[in-house]
Symmetry: C2
Subunit: 299 residues, 2 copies
């Protein structure tokens, strides 16, 4: 018996097709075994009929959904990890734009000798080796980049030359040519990068942040960049966010700000469809679903 | 007997070390079996003693050296292909800077909704699949980009979903989301990209040129970009080059110009050392050398 899946609040065609391709039949909510819910407001999700055993949510972060998920008998799954590739691609773009001198090129109005350096042959530290970090490691591999990964416990990460545990973070800053921040925002990671860490970084180092603005001490960063020793900072997230007009980073020749654009809408749709297809397949086969929400753990 | 290699005109330490690591002993010119010549002026290379059987040159293009190479009994080798990776990396950086919206980001002074698209999931045409094109294919592979390669004869290229021969070039422009030019500059490739080709490209397409400026009709490009339908153009080479001050492309929001910086000095030294090491190893082992110069073919 194929599972009956309800796609709501609107029956987004690409998502409905993905469910069907994985073997589901589409159904109204009252006849559904599972729900793919594309809305972002928990209050807009109707009461679930008893036969619904699974709800797929559209975003990676599910803070708002924890109460609802905890109160329902159905399993909730998030889209955590589904958007790793587009975000890792953006991190690579920011890193190359910085290291290869394209930030200066974009602002120039005249042909002059301006050369960046290459990323290939360098050492890049990736702080946080979850889905995004691991996807970035795969993108850096053909560039012959040596990756220094930092994870909570320091367990080896595939493709990284070395992995350090969070407690040895101090060793990271001077050990890499460039640093990418891809760690979750928690109380422990707030201002992970401050004046001391910036001072320890190598001359010419670029720092990229595709995680959350709070991981970097913005004032310390602006001061460090103004000194001119570092390569620069390329930030998809800022603190405060949005970065206010007139902020010194808008005028800083060594800063590149992209307005939280690492996961553009076109990519979201495609990757959510892919995740829905995989989870519907797993649901139909009785296999473990990807990214189940754990209301007690909080993600 | 290890080969005696002379490194000149100056005994550049990294190059001399590379030769030694491949099994050579360093020698003055008069006692040398082979010469690694780092100068760019053919007239500065002294007359070669009869025992010199091989001369390694430092650049990929050897137009200036053809007469000398033809007149000597020794085999000359160029550095063709040695710099493929840094140049391909630059092409990837230009492509990502364009597609991901970083060109606009670098010029912005305010946080607004601005989002590019992703490169992952797109189709990229690579016109010219020599060393640079093939290196770029390897960089695009983990981004799940579908590559459409164009080569002279259309023989299959590893990693490309399809390869077309040059005579079917007309089909390429509308078949890809973005286009990278990496073909040699010849009379046949002059203005390979003109008004007609630009008109055939897809909406939002970025065009990247890391080959030679003459392959693109600059005036036609400037007009096409001004119309606003294309994504933009990211050019490491221009025609004329240097691009003069006040040229419309300097003011074009959809253009990114990097000043012939795809192969920065730091990368040149590293990759030339690697090539010298490989060719000295081959010379010592009696194997075929990489990139022999053919004075009659002209490269």
């Amino acid at each position: 018996m194929p599972p009956a899946v309800h796609v709501g609040p609107d029956a987004e065609p690409a998502i409905a097709r993905a469910a069907e391709e994985a073997g589901a039949t589409l159904a109204p909510l009252e006849a559904a075994d599972a729900v793919v819910w594309l809305g972002h407001d928990p209050d807009a999700l109707p009461e679930l009929p008893e036969r619904v055993r699974w709800v797929q949510l559209p975003s990676a972060g599910v803070e708002k959904w924890l109460d609802r998920a905890g109160a329902e008998a159905a399993t909730f799954t998030s889209a955590a990890g589904a958007y790793a590739l587009p975000v890792a691609e953006h991190a690579l773009g920011l890193l190359l734009a910085g290291v290869r001198g394209l930030v200066g090129d974009a602002r120039a109005r005249s042909w002059e000798e301006r050369a960046g350096t290459t990323l290939e042959g360098s050492t890049v530290a990736i702080v946080g080796a979850g889905g995004i970090g691991r996807a970035l490691i795969a993108l850096l591999a053909p560039l012959e980049v040596e990756v220094l990964a930092v994870t909570r416990r320091g367990n080896p990460v595939a493709g990284a030359a070395r992995t350090l545990p969070a407690e040895r973070m101090d060793e990271v800053w001077g050990a890499a040519d460039h640093v990418v921040i891809a760690a979750p925002a928690t109380s422990a990671t707030r201002h992970l990068v401050g004046a001391e860490q910036l001072a320890a970084m190598r001359d010419g180092a670029w720092i990229v942040n595709v995680a959350r603005g709070s991981l970097v001490d913005t004032d310390a960063l602006a001061r460090a960049l103004a000194e001119g020793r570092l390569g620069g900072a390329a930030l998809d997230v800022t603190d405060p966010e949005p970065l206010p007009d007139g902020h010194p980073l808008w005028d800083e020749p060594r800063a590149l700000i992209s307005p939280h654009a690492a996961n553009p809408a076109s990519a979201q749709d495609r990757h959510l469809a892919r995740r829905v297809q995989e989870n519907v397949r797993r649901f139909a086969a009785g296999e473990a679903l990807l990214a189940p929400v754990d209301p007690e753990a909080g993600y």
